[in-house]
């Protein structure tokens, strides 16, 4: 492939700089030249996109490239600034730039009326900059830096409408929860640094391959430089996983993602569906060699649990964006599972495909919400434009949106001829194989996974049918005339991006043989030796998809035709799912209950009771901190005052002696002299 475009390494370097600098520049410029914000941002991201394409062609199918310059140096280690190019890098670059470009274009229309438009595009650019740099970074320290910057820009974008109470509490929650994970990441970095005296990914996992050269023997984890108890190896793995789990919203750090839906929908699609949340998976793939068996199993089980839990929650939500959010969590769970079973290739593959169809789903939902919002404003109505109970029958009024949405839905549920089919089945297959190898209780993994994938089909098509089929429920719910509510098809700005995305949801982009995973070019490059046939390759796709199709029919009848409804609304299962497994409530109840008794003392706390983990743990801390405060005021200062009181006491004694009577003075004088004298006689 090199022969096609033959560029030197300097060229690569320059391109890389261009790639990340363009968004950075646009971040500042769109704040300065407010009027052209959108133009600047789009130009910048397209530049990055082009650069990404060239880099992709250059690096894909070829060796790893690594550039770095010194940055910080210490006695026993140094940290460098640098780029690392390998297949993974360029693939991610391409993915991110492409989707980002589309979302930018989409946003032009979406955010047009907002007066904070320049700020919006500035934030988007900042995000692109950090995300791209994260991908390009050649050592863990840099990754950590941009990791946090990504979180920061997501904080900004979630809280973009900062006058909305829910939005600002959501972004705080998101940032702090991510911080919690980042602590793990930082700890991991410390461990690596003190164990290997370098953070360079290439040196650690690539050519240098320090990880391989380190080994554990009789309870010690030995590296060329250092040795420490072997549990640190496990801890290191778990630390990094904690970081990844927070970013990719894995249980138990997942509750921030649904709240993050307070941000603009375009943002949700780019950051909280396609790219940022995938960073966790990306990181884990990068450092996969580090993980030992126990860590892998933990990752796998958390992944599978998250996938299942999120899917069940998604079943019953009525807020369309929430459904999508939980489906994202669930899909990320799949990827984690893939990593857990040691099949990074499928994880990345699914990451890519999922990025496209999930982004598409969000944008489609965005269009609908956008339209309904206009409707709402035009007629001064009072309803929640994200609630699916008001929708229905929109196929007629916005066919294109409907079609692309359905394509994406099929991809998500992994039906044939869609990209999802390949990637998802890849994961399923490897899970089955893994369970086959391990045997025993590990068969529970494939069972749950298949269950989850059917649930996926169910909930996503529930959405499809609720929204696009049946008839428009808004009028009858508001007892209004049917005809005054006109829903229009999206205009070009919104339309074309989604159509482009729809293309990427089809099998043929990735593989020319719709049913063979091995044929996919992407997969071949990432993991050539894997999946060389086997019984599961035949069985798994078939039985999964047969059942999926069956489910599809049921869903259709239930939600589109309303032939029947599952009378579950009152059962605890439904509630359990609808309440999102009561996670927020559990998190609250842990600490909130006792607090409510003292609500007077902590009246301000009540304001924040509602929103879950962050605040409730905050309460715990605030309990302690108010205690600490009390300690400060009464104990430490109290000691000081205690000294003062001692002085006062002394003073009172001396005063009594100094009582103004001269003869008493003389007596005292004699007494003290005699005391001295006695002292002298004794000693």
């Amino acid at each position: 492939m090199d022969s096609i475009i033959n560029i030197s390494n300097q060229m690569v370097l320059i391109l890389a700089f261009l790639l990340i600098c363009a968004p950075l520049i646009s971040f500042f410029f769109s704040l300065i030249f407010k009027r052209f914000a959108s133009l600047i941002a789009i130009t910048a991201i397209s530049i990055s996109f082009i650069a990404a394409i060239i880099l992709f062609i250059k690096v894909w199918f070829s060796k790893t490239l690594h550039f770095s310059i010194p940055w910080i140096a210490f006695n026993n280690f140094d940290i460098r600034l640098g780029f690392l190019f390998n297949d993974l890098t360029v693939l991610m670059l391409l993915l991110i730039t492409l989707i980002a470009l589309l979302v930018h274009i989409y946003s032009v229309e979406y955010i047009r009326k907002d007066k904070l438009k320049p700020r919006y595009f500035a934030y988007l650019s900042l995000f692109c900059f950090s995300m791209l740099s994260l991908v390009l970074a050649d050592n863990l320290f840099l990754i950590y830096i941009f990791w946090e910057l990504v979180g920061f820009s997501s904080y900004l974008l979630i809280g973009f409408w900062f006058t909305k109470e829910k939005a600002v509490s959501a972004n705080k929650k998101a940032f702090i929860m991510n911080r919690l994970g980042d602590l793990g990441f930082l700890a991991g970095i410390m461990i690596m640094l003190s164990h290997f005296h370098t953070l360079d990914i290439d040196a650690l996992f690539g050519s240098g391959n320090l990880i391989a050269s380190s080994f554990t023997s009789n309870g010690m984890w030995v590296s060329p430089f250092n040795m420490m108890p072997d549990y640190w190896l496990t801890i290191a793995g778990l630390c990094f996983f904690a970081g990844a789990a927070a970013k990719s919203a894995q249980f138990p750090l997942h509750t921030w993602l649904p709240d993050a839906m307070e941000g603009p929908t375009a943002v949700s699609s780019l950051i909280h569906a396609a790219t940022m949340v995938a960073a966790g998976v990306f990181l884990l793939v990068r450092i996969a060699p580090l993980f030992n068996e126990s860590v892998l199993i933990i990752i796998a089980s958390i992944g599978v649990f998250t996938a299942f839990m999120a899917a069940t929650i998604a079943l019953t939500q009525n807020d369309i964006k929430r459904v999508l959010a939980f489906s994202t969590i669930s899909q990320l769970g799949f990827m984690m599972l893939a990593i857990g079973v040691g099949d990074e290739a499928s994880a990345i593959f699914h990451l890519v495909t999922h990025a496209f169809f999930k982004c598409l789903l969000f944008l489609g939902a965005g269009i609908i919400i956008h339209e309904l919002h206009h409707l709402k404003e035009k007629h001064q109505l009072q309803f929640d434009e994200q609630d699916m109970t008001f929708m229905g029958g929109l196929f007629k009024s916005m066919p294109i949106t409907a079609i692309v949405f359905i394509i994406a839905a099929m991809a998500l549920s992994g039906l044939p001829f869609t990209s999802g089919y390949l990637s998802k089945d890849a994961i399923l297959i490897s899970v089955f194989e893994w369970a086959d190898v391990k045997g025993g209780v590990f068969w529970i993994f494939p069972i749950i996974v298949s269950l989850t994938s059917w649930l996926t089909t169910f909930y996503i098509f529930r959405v499809v049918f609720k929204v696009f089929f049946g008839d428009f429920r808004l009028p009858q719910l508001l007892e209004a005339d049917h005809h005054q509510f006109k829903i229009h098809e999206a205009n070009v700005w919104l339309k074309y991006p989604v159509m482009v995305l729809a293309v990427f949801c089809v099998t043929f982009v990735f593989s020319f043989q719709p049913f063979s995973l091995e044929a996919s070019w992407l997969f071949n490059e990432l993991a050539p030796q894997q999946h060389v046939g086997g019984i599961y390759h035949i069985l798994v796709p078939i039985y999964i998809n047969i059942l999926s199709l069956g489910l599809l029919l049921i869903t259709y009848l239930a939600y589109a035709r309303n032939k029947f409804s599952f009378g579950l609304e009152q059962t605890w299962i439904f509630k359990f799912s609808y309440k999102q497994w009561y996670f927020n409530e559990i998190y609250d109840a842990a600490i909130v209950k006792p607090t409510l008794l003292k609500a007077k003392a902590y009246y301000w706390f009540d304001k924040n009771v509602i929103d879950g983990l962050v605040n409730s743990s905050a309460t715990a801390i605030i309990h302690i901190s108010s205690l600490a405060n009390w300690f400060d005021v009464y104990i430490i200062d109290g000691l000081v005052n205690g000294v003062a009181s001692v002085v006062e006491r002394l003073n009172i004694w001396f005063r009594n002696v100094q009582n103004g009577k001269v003869q008493h003075y003389i007596v005292w004088m004699l007494l003290i002299m005699i005391t001295f004298f006695i002292y002298l006689m004794i000693f």
């Binding site: 002394l650 004088m669 002299m673």
Partner: protein
């Protein structure tokens, strides 16, 4: 049959001694002169003041000359009545310097000026007192010691109760005299035993120590304590301090400033001279002194914290400083130690006199007597208030003032002995803690002057008097000596 001293030899000694005795003679002459002036010339305040000023100046000059022509070895005058060496003269000069300041202060003091009988007798008494303390500094003989202490005491009794219009002043005077008389009577009794043991009044007679080695420590300690009573009364360290606050509060400010500095210089120099022999004769001497020092610092500072009346506050603060200085007495006695003592006394006296002067000026201008009345003075008076603050900083012992250097000198002389002398360390800790404590009351004054808002201060006529000038000079000296102490080490 014991033979007396050879007459010829002794007379010859006396004649020889006279030349060394010039300054004291000058003062005695001045003393008589002033009495005469007062007798024969009417309305002679100014003249008397000038005369006494000139007397002191002459005496000082004479001492300077002596200091320069002094030969290293110290000699005894008048058949062992006085000691004569650089050490003695150094302290005499310091005492004279302080007395000069006090003299100017007396002349400016409102209470003394407005006295019906006029101020002339006061100057006479004052000169007598000065003579007494000069002889005390150099006295080498029990008789001389007692004599000079008595002269000093009588003079101070009279000075304290010179103005006696008010009930309280009379009361203070009476307490002072009764307490003082008792103390000196006790000392006298002790002295007689000292005489009895050694059979000689001469302090520099080696057989004092021989005698002390023979007698038991019981009577030795008893005698020691008794002698300390009289000296302690002058220095006002615990337990001989009771009179101090009462007397200082009610005496005219200038007198308080005199009492708080000049006698201390004299007595300290004398006691320090005797410290070495005492340390020899009684192993317990240093422990007594250290105890007294610790107690004194504690009492002085603790009592000062809660004082409202400025002069009473300064009285207690001076007690505290005495305690601090007492610690020096336990050190091996050599020229360097004495120069440290000298420096501390120098620092202490200029600062203290300055403080008293500023208080007096503020009193005359705004008639403030208590802390409460000082609120917001800083706004009204921009000259004296800052100086007062400087003096307070110096008394606290913070850089860049001479007080800090002095404190540091004392600390460093003591710290080098911590291993040698038992339980010096706890006393040092007491010293440090009381230093921190002293911050409280010293900085109460700036606190009231600057930090509090003025409430109902009556501004009386605020004409700049000569004293303001002196105060500013003193403040500047305090600062300069704080930065370049070397200039002020005259010996």
């Amino acid at each position: 049959m014991r033979t007396g001293l050879d007459i010829a030899q002794s007379t010859e000694n006396i004649i020889a001694s006279l030349s060394y005795f010039v300054p004291e003679l000058i003062i005695s002459v001045g003393f008589l002169l002033i009495i005469l002036i007062d007798l024969f010339i009417k309305r002679a305040e100014r003249l008397v003041f000038i005369a006494s000023l000139v007397t002191l100046l002459f005496a000082a000059i004479a001492y300077f000359i002596q200091l320069n022509i002094i030969q290293t070895n110290s000699l005894l005058l008048f058949n062992g009545m006085f000691l004569h060496n650089s050490y003695v003269i150094g302290f005499k000069l310091l005492a004279l310097f302080a007395s000069l300041l006090s003299l100017i202060f007396f002349n400016q003091d409102r209470d003394l000026k407005n006295h019906p009988k006029g101020i002339n007798d006061f100057f006479t008494i004052f000169l007598g007192g000065v003579l007494g303390l000069l002889t005390l500094i150099s006295s080498a003989n029990l008789l001389m010691l007692f004599l000079s202490i008595e002269i000093l005491s009588i003079a101070s009794y009279l000075m304290v109760s010179y103005t006696n219009k008010e009930k309280l002043q009379a009361e203070a005077g009476m307490k002072y005299v009764l307490f003082g008389a008792t103390a000196s009577a006790i000392m006298l009794y002790g002295l007689t035993f000292l005489y009895g043991f050694s059979g000689s009044l001469n302090l520099y007679n080696e057989n004092i120590f021989i005698a002390f080695e023979h007698i038991n420590s019981f009577s030795a300690s008893l005698v020691l304590l008794m002698i300390l009573a009289g000296i302690g009364f002058k220095l006002s360290f615990v337990p001989f301090h009771f009179w101090t606050p009462d007397a200082y509060q009610q005496a005219p400010t200038s007198v308080s400033s005199f009492l708080s500095t000049v006698p201390k210089i004299a007595v300290f120099s004398f006691l320090f001279r005797l410290a070495a022999p005492f340390q020899l004769v009684s192993i317990h001497f240093s422990s007594i002194i250290l105890f007294a020092a610790g107690l004194t610092m504690l009492v002085g500072n603790v009592m000062a914290v809660f004082q409202k009346d400025l002069k009473r506050l300064l009285a207690y603060s001076s007690i505290g400083h005495t305690g601090f200085l007492l610690m020096l007495l336990v050190l091996p006695n050599d020229s360097i130690m004495s120069s440290n003592l000298w420096f501390y006394l120098f620092a202490y006296s200029i600062t203290n006199i300055g403080a008293f002067m500023s208080v007096a000026v503020l009193d005359t201008n705004f008639n403030v007597k208590t802390l409460e009345q000082m609120k917001g003075l800083g706004k009204l008076n921009t000259l004296i208030a800052p100086c007062l603050v400087i003096f307070m900083v110096s008394l606290t012992g913070l850089p860049p003032t001479v007080g800090f250097i002095a404190k540091f000198v004392v600390f460093s002389s003591l710290i080098s002995e911590t291993t040698a002398i038992s339980f010096l360390v706890p006393i040092l800790i007491v010293a440090v803690l009381t230093t921190v404590l002293s911050l409280f009351y010293y900085f109460n004054i700036p606190l009231h002057i600057y930090l509090k808002k003025p409430e109902g201060l009556i501004i009386k006529k605020q004409k700049l008097i000569f004293l303001d000038f002196i105060i500013v000079i003193l403040a500047i000296i305090v600062l300069i000596a704080g930065v370049f102490p070397d200039f002020f080490k005259i010996f």
